[in-house]
Symmetry: C2
Subunit: 514 residues, 2 copies
């Protein structure tokens, strides 16, 4: 690996030259994907009917637990459910009926309105990795993540053309107290990026802080009328809704802010080992969760989530990019569309410890599947590593590069006269070549997606330059993007108000690291 | 990398233990894939109609060249084409009509009948890389391939559970004379494996040799009545059919042996830069080639081939696993099915020089696409590297491992009572886990596909074992498979007759290396 040399080169050129280059750097941003290709439907009508019927049976006969949440039990009782202790038995048809008030598509507004996203319909919004306590490969060391790492990921996300969303907990800033880190995380998303972002879900009070910070950023009236956050509400599979997550959901739904309601399933552990059984449980869980959001506020924007991996029955390790996860995701997409809900699934999943071939196979399997499964919101679309324990800088830019290929594939096949290229076929004819023909001259610049990272060099050049692999090239890209980063403008009054809010909040409570 | 140590460990244990292990090694082989999932159809009816109409226009108005092949021109003239010089203008509808006599599915018989394959319909047959002059990473050196390398690839193919076909020129044995190497290659496929294989296409005489060697292996009467080879006939895109390839096609079609009739397209060079334009040319070329095969012998088995990559317009390098190649392949699958022909496309394509993340992203993109595109015969399904210049031992086993995931995905979603797992959902209930429940106990062994190469270990174990990457693990697998290899039995009389045939043939001609 010739990284040291590369880094020197990347940082060379003198201060003035670097500043000039930075000033001229244009930050390209792609609009969210509007699919012009069909969804892939793996389940036939019979399978869908069986799964939907079984999910209703699960809700009615087995029921779901709403834990330590008397208000939720009361809401369910009023809605007509049979509540026994913390167990809620939902009569056949009730959950689906309650889900009907949830919108099939909604706008999440970004502070830069050009970067607002449409979630649902034929759209696909891409957001980065969420949740890892560790980071890797900024200095080629795996270690606990810090707020500085967090900020670097937000900067990378801002600089990544194919990423539409800044995400949420891109890594856990473990050097900040647990009860305060949501403030610093939101501050980073709000000030270092102008893309849409996610709110805190680790305590209902932190969800309220998230809403209040958005009221500073967007204005209180604006937040009442618009969705400015999409947050991740995990279901404690199987069939359990805990008070913390439900408390955050209640805050967000009441404030008309969006929530992804998402079973978190390692197949064989939190769901049956079969695809049909897992889909049944996923559908039951999401219907119960979405129905509950609509009991809190009819019309609150929600997303049908499905985080699904399988398990290695030899070691118990979760496995990623597997065929079973693909089957479940394709099927869950169909079930979500039949409920008329936006769908969240897939991502840059891998169990690998390095951004190596395993990581890329597993990730590519999931990214391609996510596009064809009709996913509307893809969390973890880049940067996920080691089963979600690690956020990787190199893999972030490698995956983000592949997201460009999804954009191109989603455009479908234009069939207009220029695309038919009959003039080119006539001009070139048998035995010729198309490199110089008029049609190629007119179209070559946009004809083919091109990686910003991959090696397309002749072998001899590649050897001369150190026979580098993708991880090495990815490092160049991380360095370049962080070097080129320029903070987007923010009204100084808003910036100051955010700082004041955070200082006041932090002063109100002692640090807690548990 | 801890490879040296691993190799020592792998070879340790003493001769007796090793022999015992080898004797007990069971070589598992999967049956070819019978898809139980739908194909992905990217083109709508209008796009198909436009492309089919334009392809007929190309055949009629632009025409195709059959170069240095008076007999072919005569066949076309008799069939009703307008032949001017070497240019054949095929009246609208004629090519499609001629294609109708080609079978939509055929059996390629292997010498071990359990390994015979069905090509066409909903089936997918997987064959290894074809054509590279170089090999890499057997000793971690990129160098010209030899017959010894060739034999090792055939052994790996034989040992690979998910590979149904031994392939053809798995690498070019450059240490054997050009005019004799087909004999040694066929001998390797026939004696070191019992899976089906491909014949030589580099000269019509070598195609005849291939048929004659098959007559020794299978018996002359058997070869007359059965298809025992599937060979690769490339079209010299755009729109040119050269005498060598057509000569080989003529030999195979006359002998009722199968041919893949395959445009070889680097988009932007050998076809227009647009997807619709490329599909038009692919369809026109395949229709002309298949029609010609049916003029030679109506009913001869053929495959609609499409080898398609795009080009990096900056460097001119071919690029792989791209979204444009995916769109073309999905579309070509639809066009092939409308012609009622088996379809060949996709593969373990990459431009990378190493089995790194780039290689895996590009390969996974193409493998997944190939499964969903309805490909019936996937040449290059494993081992392709560096734009096809290199056959890689490590990547061979890495890709071959991923082919297992395609098998599982293709099974679709069973919906029988056991798969519905309602007993498990009832047994476990809210808050439990499924690891020990009855349904899991009954099903966990076959529930999830598992890689034979990937790292699923805890982080600490992985670090202790040397923090190895996929390339390193792949080396273990190459070593193990070659170490476990046991030659399949072959009737000694047939083996001797093959040796005699080759010795006689080699004695008849001086070595040629050009």
């Amino acid at each position: 690996m010739a990284e040291a040399a590369t880094r020197r080169r990347g940082r060379g050129g003198g201060g003035a030259a670097r500043r000039a280059e930075r000033t001229s750097a244009r930050i390209e941003v792609a609009r969210f994907i509007e699919r012009n290709i069909p969804n892939y439907e793996i389940l036939d009508d019979e399978a869908i009917a069986v799964i939907e019927r079984n999910a209703e049976t699960v809700l009615e006969e087995i029921g779901v637990n709403f834990v330590e949440n008397p208000a939720a039990l009361e809401r369910w009782r009023e809605a007509g459910a049979d509540v026994q202790g913390e167990r809620v038995h939902i009569p056949r048809g009730l959950a689906r009926q309650l889900c009907a008030t949830a919108p099939s598509q909604f706008t999440q507004v970004a502070r830069n309105p050009e970067k607002s996203v449409e979630i649902g319909g034929r759209n696909l919004v891409l957001a980065p990795v969420y949740g890892p306590p560790f980071i890797n490969d900024l200095d080629n060391v795996r270690r606990y993540a810090t707020i500085e790492d967090f900020r670097n990921f937000v900067k990378l996300g801002y600089m990544s053309k194919w990423l539409h969303h800044s995400g949420g907990t891109v890594c856990e800033p473990t050097d900040v107290a647990v009860n305060k880190r949501h403030l610093d995380m939101l501050h980073a998303h709000m000030t270092l990026s102008d893309k849409p972002f996610m709110g805190s879900v680790t305590e209902p009070s932190r969800a309220r802080d998230s809403v209040e910070m958005c009221e500073i950023l967007f204005g209180p009236d604006f937040v009442q009328d618009n969705t400015v956050m999409t947050s991740l509400i995990n279901i404690n599979s199987p069939l359990t809704f805990d008070a913390t997550m439900m408390g955050a959901l209640e805050v967000y739904a009441a404030a008309n802010q969006a929530a992804i309601i998402s079973p978190f399933i390692v197949g064989g552990a939190m769901a049956p080992v079969s695809v049909a059984g897992t889909l049944t449980q996923v559908l039951a869980e999401v219907m119960a969760g979405v129905a509950y959001s609509q009991l809190v506020r009819p019309g609150a924007p929600v997303i049908f989530g499905a985080f699904v991996t399988s398990i290695d029955m030899n070691s118990g390790a979760p496995t990623f990019g597997t065929p079973e996860a693909a089957q479940i995701t394709y099927g869950a997409g169909q079930l979500a569309r039949r409920l008329g809900l936006p769908f969240r699934s897939a991502g840059s999943f891998t169990g690998s410890k390095l951004a190596d071939a395993q990581a890329a196979y597993e990730t590519a399997n999931s990214l391609n599947m996510g596009l064809l499964a009709g996913v509307n919101f893809m969390l973890h679309a880049c940067g996920w590593m080691e089963g979600g324990l690690v956020a990787s800088f190199r893999k972030f830019v490698m995956d983000a590069d592949q997201l460009g290929a999804l954009h191109k594939l989603a455009q479908g096949v234009p069939i207009d006269e220029e695309s038919q290229a009959m003039d080119a076929l006539r001009e070139v004819g048998p035995g010729g070549h198309y490199l110089g023909c008029g049609h190629t001259q007119r179209n070559f610049k946009t004809a083919f997606w091109r990686s910003e990272i991959f090696d397309y060099k002749p072998y001899e050049t590649w050897v001369e330059e150190g026979a580098r692999d993708t991880r090495s090239y990815a490092w160049d890209r991380v360095t370049k993007l962080l070097g080129d980063y320029q903070q987007p403008d923010l009204d100084p009054g808003i910036a100051e108000a955010l700082n004041d809010y955070i200082a006041r909040k932090k002063a109100q409570m002692p640090d807690s690291f548990t």
